[in-house]
């Protein structure tokens, strides 16, 4: 898998006129990589992910996945939204299997795959529960399982743990890392939580505030096996400080 964006620009036409949200975004994700993009609120992170998902079209520039341009949404780019978007009338198992159903996968194979991914996210006992009976963290795990069940080439995640409390968030981060190691899926995750980005990813894109552009790409040299002790490493703190400083610097005043 190879995802790359070329000189992405995105304008929105608002009542106040043209709003430049993303400016000259060039990024790439390779097979099996875990990449994060961090930026302040309103820096266009969600917009960037929506462009890559194909839910929105860039004003200019292009996005290529394995040499093919992205022209619309597709199952090879799975998405996990910030708000838990589960189908309220479907059980947990049906939610997880829905992508496969849409793609016409036979029922027997489908239920096998659903059982597999429910196990992966540790929700096997809740197969027949309805979304409203789940906690926030559980809902997000279902959403992740649903995205993974379609076996996407890359998983796009928009602040998936933003609404969770600190403990649940930490659990979910470790869970996601474990999942990533076992499935080998490429992940591009958006967050405004610098600590989360440093803990999870191998590479971080730091975005400027509006208009969002890539201020710096940070390669993290942390041990591949991340545990809670990783956070105590001296260079963990160093990376965090570095990125924090980058986020604090004002963008160059050439805003159109």
């Amino acid at each position: 898998m190879h995802l790359e964006t070329f000189n992405l620009y995105k304008h929105f036409t608002t009542r106040q006129g043209q709003l430049l949200v993303l400016k000259d975004i060039n990024l790439h994700v390779e097979t099996g990589q875990f990449v994060c993009a961090v930026g302040a609120s309103g820096s266009g992170k969600t917009t960037l992910l929506r462009l890559i998902a194909g839910l929105e079209m860039p004003t200019s520039g292009k996005i290529m996945v394995d040499g093919k341009p992205v022209l619309g949404p597709g199952a090879e780019r799975g998405m996990v939204f910030q708000s838990y978007t589960l189908y309220p009338w479907m059980s947990v198992a049906k939610n997880v299997g829905f992508g496969l159903k849409l793609q016409g996968v036979a029922k027997s194979l489908r239920s096998q795959r659903v059982a597999e991914y429910l196990d992966v996210v540790g929700l096997s006992q809740f197969a027949n529960a309805y979304p409203r009976e789940l906690s926030g963290g559980m809902k997000q795990r279902v959403a992740i399982a649903r995205a993974l069940a379609s076996q996407p080439k890359i998983l796009l995640m928009d602040e998936p743990f933003g609404a969770l409390d600190v403990q649940t968030k930490a659990t979910m981060q470790e869970f996601l890392l474990d999942l990533w190691r076992r499935t080998g899926t490429s992940i591009l995750m958006i967050t405004h939580d610098v600590e989360e980005a440093v803990f999870l990813s191998q590479r971080i894109y730091v975005l400027t505030a509006r208009p969002g552009s890539i201020q710096q790409e940070v390669q993290l040299n942390l041990p591949p096996e991340r545990t809670y002790t990783t956070r105590r490493q001296p260079n963990f703190q160093h990376y965090q400080d570095e990125i924090m400083d980058l986020l604090r610097t004002k963008p160059s005043p050439d805003i159109a």
Partner: protein, 280 residues
Amino acid sequence: MAPQHPQAPTSLKTRGRSRGIMPTVFWRIAEDIPPHLKWFLVALSILLPIGLWWFLAFQGAKFIPFPGEVWQALVTLQKQGVLQKDTLASCFRVGCGFLLAALLSAPIGIAMGTFASIRALCEPIIGIVRYMPSPAFIPLLILYFDIGELTKIILIFIGTVFFNVLMIMDAVKFVPKELIEATYTLGGLRHQVLFQVITPHVIPNILDAFRVNMAASWNLVVVAELVNANEGLGKRIELAQRTLSTDKIFGYLIVLGLLGLAIDLFFQLLLRLFCRWAVD
């Protein structure tokens, strides 16, 4: 010596606000009341009007029959088979007109809610026609379809279909956009979004719209029967008026109310059976 527990400034304690919200049972907002209170109030809601009615009759108020007389009138009509025939005739008309409206309004409403193009195509005309009172169509309907069952069915259809369509269309607007987008990112196609996401999401709202608009159908069947009919609940009321048989009128009004209530409960049952996810 300084006071150990300084008093809050009195200005903050004015108008009894200092005690916070007083505990209450009756006036709880968005919370259940104890079952015994609930059943007491439910019983009161039925028994109080009946009591008042009986009292008025007892006072010798003009044209107010005793509840017992109304019951007798109904029993007599039932023994003659008139009540059954009337009920059946009215139910048939409402059934046909409403079913027709339901079958048409669900797909049109969903299509209008889903596609801005269909909405632009249909909304203006529906917006106008729905403000034309359907009883005003009666003269035309009689000219076009003659005085028969068809005219009554079409009248009920006209009076129901547009409201159904607009209510269903509005329900589609409340389908979260992210749910639709999530479906696309799972590989869903447009028709799959329409039939497997939007449609199941609005089914509870469709049932609700049907439930609400059923009341309009019952109103119209009586109007239609007043114009011309051989039997029907509305027709019988008109006939009873000629003989000043207020006992029959009271009886039929109660029958109309109970039938409506039964249909309402039936829709609620459907909702509970098939849309468990949408009801608590």
